[in-house]
Symmetry: C2
Subunit: 450 residues, 2 copies
Amino acid sequence: MTEQTKKQVDLIIEARWVLPIVPRSKMLERTAVVVSNGVIQDLLGIEACKLKYSATKTIHLMDHVLIPGLINLHTHMGMTLMRGLADDKALMPWLEKHIWPAEQELVSERFVRDNALFACAELLSGGVTCFNDMYFYPQATADAAVQAGIRAQLGLVVLEFPTAYAADADDYIQKGLEARDSWRNSPLLTSSMAPHAPYTVADATYEKVITYAEQLGMGVHTHLHETADEISRSIDQYSVRPIRRMANLGLLGPNVTAAHCVQMNDEDVNLIKSYGVHVAHCPSSNLKLGSGVAPVSNMLNETINVGIGTDSAASNNRLDMFTEMRLAALLAKGSTGDASVVPAFQALEMATINGAKALGLDDKIGSLEIGKLADLAAIRIADVETLPCFDPISHLVYVCGREHVSHVWVSGDLRYEKPVNQSGVFANIEPLELKEIAFLWQSKLNQFKA
Amino acid sequence: MTEQTKKQVDLIIEARWVLPIVPRSKMLERTAVVVSNGVIQDLLGIEACKLKYSATKTIHLMDHVLIPGLINLHTHMGMTLMRGLADDKALMPWLEKHIWPAEQELVSERFVRDNALFACAELLSGGVTCFNDMYFYPQATADAAVQAGIRAQLGLVVLEFPTAYAADADDYIQKGLEARDSWRNSPLLTSSMAPHAPYTVADATYEKVITYAEQLGMGVHTHLHETADEISRSIDQYSVRPIRRMANLGLLGPNVTAAHCVQMNDEDVNLIKSYGVHVAHCPSSNLKLGSGVAPVSNMLNETINVGIGTDSAASNNRLDMFTEMRLAALLAKGSTGDASVVPAFQALEMATINGAKALGLDDKIGSLEIGKLADLAAIRIADVETLPCFDPISHLVYVCGREHVSHVWVSGDLRYEKPVNQSGVFANIEPLELKEIAFLWQSKLNQFKA
């Protein structure tokens, strides 16, 4: 075939290894991913690709494994600069003495935008191409995501008590719907209703949330069964555990993503399973706040769809999906006594296609398949701490860190690149702006530190 | 004071923060560490230092925190190139189908030296200045440590069954004592008797181990209570749990470091405490092999000295003390339901002074005090994922990774340096040699992979 008859495309990425995630456990060697108009057009051997396609840009990644961009299924991007503000505290003193006073004083549209932009940089540099957020001023997080060029599902947060952002539940809902209107035309952004948690949202508000989610075709993102205290409060107030209360209210369904699900008895697991609810597992945050260990292996065995989230930088303190994947796999083994549960590939599924399913975006992202959006991350395996490599799937989970991420594309656009032995570069975020954001808000947050 | 009257020293390191570990929780700001002849001569404010000392070399680390070099309290350096050879397997199939056949075929003096040199590079680049090892051919690990310039306590491994290294327990002991003679004059190396584990060492051999340890003034390094299976085997064979058997044999004492101590009842904890035995906690390895979670918070409350180890790259698969410190702190919180246990400073103590105490080296290393050896690591806190920083102690454990280590000194000699946006450089290890080692042995190990 001559140059003239080759098909012209935007981008060819040739990689030593390509892990498409779907089909399961399949690893492609010396494979090219062909991209045009932000969409994966083909996956084929490098030599076959040279004969068939001609690209505006070709990238050679011969020490690398190419994977679908990671999906962070539970974030509060607007809290990122509270990283390490107060650690080693029990949940309630942490919230009451540090986090809530800081939020009361400082949270504003500007604060959330700056925090979210900072978080977008951290996520992109760690191979994340999509996050599922819940916080005040979601339009500010939307602005940051659009600037950074990262995909997001933004929760329209709803709770009963007043904050700088909104006065009461109806006000939260109204402000959320207005925010949603502001980003409706962005191809990177989708929306969910985000009732905060069973202990901060009343039954009447849940009923409104259900109505809007149904009428507007939105998913629901909520915290659920995070702590033992949440369960006992619910039994005191409603005579049932929170999951049963949610079921009774009609909230549960396959459009719901429940973050945490740590404190789960058999009935809880059965309800989550029978309603097709998705779970966002946040292992670091659950350990750090003393909440416990979610029964992930059990939920996966029950065919519940479990993704992975970092939670916020205030409770984690790394927005690092590599740390979370590794911890998810290790904790499942350690807590069951079975080293074979949650093998490396399953941890990668949780961080990619399972997250996409939870967001209702699995027709577009979460795997490298022809016709899906070109959300991709490349990880370099060539340093002393990553050699030798017998199995890149195992390495991605047990060996590699976010520092080995070399390239990140969203819809085929290169959003982050770290050349060997150089610092990482973002397409639309200036390092100086990030430094200025950190120093500005650190000076204001200092008064709330432990 | 004029230049002439200033005291001439070898090295001054000026740092934004210095965390000496002793005294507890004290953080020094804008402090200089003064080093001559490999020993810390002074710690004082930067301005005061300028007036008092003149150095052959001065290093300015104004984005950094300086800490004692980390002490990895449980390693098998000679297994490093088996990183990821077979994952997600239960302990016995993993050993019987992959690790033991590979060792049977390949372990030799050259294999161990190459593996250990590779591991020395990984450890140094992650801020580790001392490791506590147990493996065949310890003189080969000694050679690698001396080349790399890293401190080590090398276990003279003893077990009953024959390997390529030795024929029977007496042969292991004999070979170990000969190896020890070979490194007796190295200032970086000390020795321990290393009976492998209760299920691989007979009573008569333990008695010999005790005799040699006493006569030669050596510590003892052993695996203990790693798995439930180990306990039940011991009860079947000896009618007592392993720790009780060790106590009955007279092995236990303040010169013993027991790796793992996962499966611990109250009596086990009391015995460890009453004999002053030190514990090497290996959280990643214990989770990954499905062994469980050691009751670290309980042991620390009982004033048992607990350090941290990575175990080998075959079961971890990162020789990364930052990951282990974070996991030790998080697991203690998650397993007890108390977010305040094992706070960040305590995790850092475990990885420094507690390790030094276990090795009987706490008069020389483990903290930054005048008169101690200048074993130091600098960690840079200036990147998007590490900003802002309200408390460097919290950041070291919850935020930083080994990739933020910028300088590592052993006895005042710079052994590793990673300039900003450049690759790390070792004083005495060539990158090309590391690549050759990885490729040579990977080709031979491939046949044993999962």
